[in-house]
Amino acid sequence: MQANTTNGRRDNTHVPLGVFLIAIGLAALWVARDYDTGTFTSMGPGFFPKGISGCMILMGILVILFRGKDLPEAEEDGRDSATAIARLRVIGLVTASILVFAATLSPLGLPVATFFMVTIAGFSHRGSQPLAILATAIALAAFATALFAWLLGLQIPVLPEVLR
């Protein structure tokens, strides 16, 4: 009976995780191909990279072979309720907000870059009013400038490049 319940619980994480581990392992092995391996007793700089890459591939294979049976009998909490589009929206917008901050910080300065980051990230939260997002962005831009540039005195560009 117990076997039935465990088989009844589908695990859809082992294949992507296993593939990810194998891919990382293969890539790491390929990058390390020119590093000198040496021997076990007198190791070169390539010994650990190659060894660990191999272990990564092995782990990936094991994860796929175990087909999720390595996981504890966890209670299903309905975590995966979000749709693919909702998920993509969250990841895409939050990641984009960080990238935009990094790209605009130097040319436009800290307050403007923070404003952009918070605005873009704000839209990833469902049910937020655009006005509330803009207000949060303005408040946080002021807060970040006050805290980091003035209070902590970090050398962060504040003014846009044209005004400096």
Binding site: V31, D36, I52, M59, L71, A82, V90, L110, T114, H125
Partner: protein
């Protein structure tokens, strides 16, 4: 005098450091931030310490570490408040407290439960402080005899123990260890000068930067996961009026031995790699249930079920510092963050800290006691305010977290390269969460990996390439045996369970 260090002199020195106005202020600030974090669900201490790490780099080293430590044990207090009053454990280590703590609130004894939790935590914190002050010098003296093979085996044992004690899948924890080791390899190889995994980036020649990795894996990934699940968050919790804060005489009589047992359990479990506060509180609750004459009553508002886990998570949280300060080896992800903070200040954690940086060592230990006292005094009167904070909507909370962490990361090295890296690690952390992998072993391996490689190669050099050096040194051999036994202990039930399932199919 133990190991050439005067313990009482040390404590006096520590208090003189911890009681300077600056350090008192930052200790208080750390405790308040920690409590805040403990209260707010979905923002763990690991993520917070990672996010606030850059802000402490401008402070003197002991002040910075005192602040970070305050956040850590402050979170243990804060987590218990919302568990007891609202059944909303802000911290994983307070989950068990919610069982009986919230039941006590429903029985109209919520105020007493809060007091018991606070006093038990304070008691445990005090005992843990003196335990550390007494044992750290002995351990440090013993460790000075360690050579490269002993250090290598100790770290290996630590990694394996953290896997065994990890929650969830052992297999995936091991996979995370290898991933962490791989990240740790990037940069210039010390022995040969060869650049490894630098991908042509100058910024990677010193290795993958630590702060972007932890902020990405814990901070940004947490935001992504919470945003995805945050459909039903706009519901301000209602709070029942809090009863008298004083426990009855009968409650006190039952809570006292439970506190002592919880403290002792925490003291020892906190020392284990991968242990710390979480494991301690679960074990203490289970132990109380076993000792109790009425185990069936647990969950209905037993005061022991509040006192023991709260005492245990606090003493466990503190003794977790002991392996870090004496061996230089972090036993969990938060301690790995502390290593990161020390490294930035140019301090190498290890047995020599006590003699080379006595102000830092004793100041940190003394500040833990001072911080615990502060938490006891400030927290009970402030309960109402903390609960009000739960009404902050995530809509405003997450942009604030994002801003502080991303601007803070830029502030470490003043390069946007680190910011791009954070975005990448954030997405990685999100997927690891989806694939039910814990990021904690990854961080531990990332910090330990380079040290392990270094010690291994140094051992080989000392032994002229004879791997028997690990067996010939008695301390190293003992650790090797312990490691093998641990490995067998995970493999056997694991294989057996798997075979059972395979046969049942």
């Amino acid at each position: 005098m133990i190991g050439g260090v005067d313990v009482f002199g040390g404590i006096a020195l520590g208090l003189s450091v911890a009681l300077t106005p600056t350090n008192m202020f930052f200790c208080l600030a750390g405790c308040l931030i920690g409590t805040l974090v403990g209260v707010l669900p979905g923002l763990g201490p690991t993520a917070t310490i990672a996010i606030l790490l850059p802000l402490t780099f401008g402070l003197p080293p002991e002040t910075g570490l005192i602040t970070l430590a305050g956040i850590y044990y402050g979170a243990q207090y804060g987590g218990s408040t919302t568990s007891i009053l609202l059944r909303l454990p802000g911290e994983a280590s307070s989950v068990v407290t919610a069982l009986d703590g919230h039941a006590m609130t429903r029985n109209g004894r919520g105020g007493a439960a809060l007091t018991v939790a606070a006093v038990a935590s304070f008691f445990a914190g005090t005992v843990a402080t003196f335990f550390m002050a007494a044992f750290a010098p002995i351990l440090s003296a013993a460790v000075l005899k360690f050579g490269a093979p002993e250090y290598f085996m100790l770290m290996f044992l630590g990694l394996i123990t953290s896997v065994v004690l990890a929650q969830g899948s052992v297999l995936r924890a091991i996979a995370m260890i290898f991933l962490g080791l791989l990240f740790g390899l990037a940069g210039t190889d010390i022995n040969s000068g060869q650049y490894r995994y630098d991908f042509g980036f100058m910024e990677l020649l010193n290795g993958v930067p630590f702060v972007p990795l932890v902020v990405g894996l814990f901070g940004v990934a947490d935001i992504l996961v919470t945003l995805e699940n945050a459909v039903r968050d706009e519901k301000p919790p209602t709070l029942n009026p809090i009863s008298s804060l004083w426990p009855t005489r009968e409650e006190t009589k039952r809570a006292t031995p439970a506190t002592v047992r919880g403290t002792l359990i925490g003291l020892f479990l906190g020392l284990l790699p991968g242990g710390g506060a979480l494991l301690s509180s679960f074990m203490a609750y289970t132990a109380e249930k076993r000792v109790s004459k009425t185990p069936q009553k647990f969950g209905t508002g037993m005061v022991e079920g509040v006192a023991a886990p709260e005492a245990a998570n606090n003493s466990g949280a503190q003794t977790a510092f002991l392996p870090l300060l004496t061996l230089g080896i972090p036993s969990n992800a938060i301690m790995a963050l502390m290593v990161g903070a020390m490294m930035v200040h140019g301090i190498v954690p290890g047995p020599r800290i006590m003699t080379s940086q006595p102000e830092l060592f004793w100041g940190l230990i003394a500040s833990m006691w001072v911080g615990n006292l502060m938490l006891l005094v400030i927290n009970l009167p402030l309960v109402g305010i903390w609960v009000q904070l739960l009404k902050i909507r995530y809509q405003f909370l997450f942009p604030t977290i994002l801003t502080v962490s991303i601007v803070g990361i830029y502030g470490v090295e003043f390069t946007t390269f680190d910011v791009y890296l954070t975005a990448i690690f954030g997405v990685l952390g999100y997927f690891l969460h989806k694939w039910r992998c814990e990021p904690a072993p990854l961080i531990l391996a990332f910090v330990l990996g380079p040290m392990m490689e270094e010690y291994f190669r140094r051992s080989m050099l000392v032994a002229r390439g004879d791997p028997m050096i690990f067996v010939n040194h008695p301390i190293s051999l003992a650790m090797l045996v312990a490691t093998v036994l641990l490995l067998l202990s995970i493999c056997f039930p694991f294989i057996q369970k798997f075979r059972q399932k395979a046969f049942a199919e």
